[in-house]
Amino acid sequence: MTILEFTSVVAIVSFVAGLLGSLTGLGGGVVLVPLLTILFHVDIRYAIGASLVSVIATSSGAAAAYVKEGFSNIRIGMFLEIATTFGALMGAFLATRIPTSALAIIFGAVLIYSAYLSRKPRPLDQRNLPPDPLATRLRMNGSFPDLEGPRSYNVQHVPTGFSLMFGAGALSGLLGIGSGAVKVLAMDQAMRIPFKVSTTTSNFMIGVTAAASAGIYLSRGYVDPGLAMPVMLGVLGGSLLGSRILVKAETKSLRLVFSVVILVLGLQMLYKGFWGKI
């Protein structure tokens, strides 16, 4: 394959991944690394470097649209970013030291877990929770515009959420993904942040988290311009288009299809990792 052909095909695949990731809310980054390694036989380290860059692009590109809705909470975001950026730093250092087969196995496990999580119904937002002393001292409680006017919420279990976010950051740095699955665990389930607030806040955090490991990847020579270019432009274009047509599209069946894709890719990554095919 010539560079021109390779670039075009990778750009198209990345565009579709970005579009589906944005429409389903599952993120496009998580399928990019397995697609690049399985379909295009790209070394997993180059794939992770390119994916990481595209994660920053989608997160920052979508931020302006999210912000206007007024759901995100910058205090929760900034506080948890201490955990995610530190975790990302650890993850990026670890990534250069562990064998690629181990990377593939961890990646496979994360994909399968993401597929499982995407089929599980979201826990219902619990209303009128009592204020938690630590969250109150950290000024995390807030309100957001809901259908019946502003709705206030009280954040719970800050230490648990903070520790889980360290793990989310480490996975992001290790695998070059946004690790939305772990963020759901930390923010929705542990800290009991309303769904709309947690989604928009975590979108903000994903870019900052990825930036923390991107510097290390770039300086280690894991970011190849020829590969990162079509991936970044494709994913960015796809996700921007996705955020525009989000309201009209029928996302339920799309979500099912996409989670099956994620599951299959996860099994493939496990297979490749265990049988040393990577």
Partner: protein, 142 residues
Amino acid sequence: MPTGEAPAPRPQQPQPQMWDDHRIEVILGNLLRSGVLLSAAVVFLGACVYLSHHGHESADYRIFRGEPSEFRTIAGVIHSAVHGRGRGLIQLGLLLLIATPIARVAFSIVGFGIERDRMYVAFTLIVLAILLFSLLGSGLGV
């Protein structure tokens, strides 16, 4: 709703602090989007140069070699981009992209400072320190 004006009175008054936060966020959100669009434009320009020169060579990413130093350090990338090399321009665009969320964190310090929220100024400084360490302490700045 225009963000510069006071919110209309409502039966349940939203906390004024949240509205200040929201205004800061709108500014930061636009900053992020401009940064991304700028970096995408630079990457695209680099892509045109790169593909016009190397488009017909064969692509191979099967074996990991690591990038040469001109694509691994800030000085090397700028040097390569200034000389009009396609891959140097792409890498410069990617550096701009990485810098965008870092700029957002830096501006948040100003936002929290205006609100006189010392605790969050401190938290934001910690995040910025980690980011700068990653970018400059890992050998990229050399």
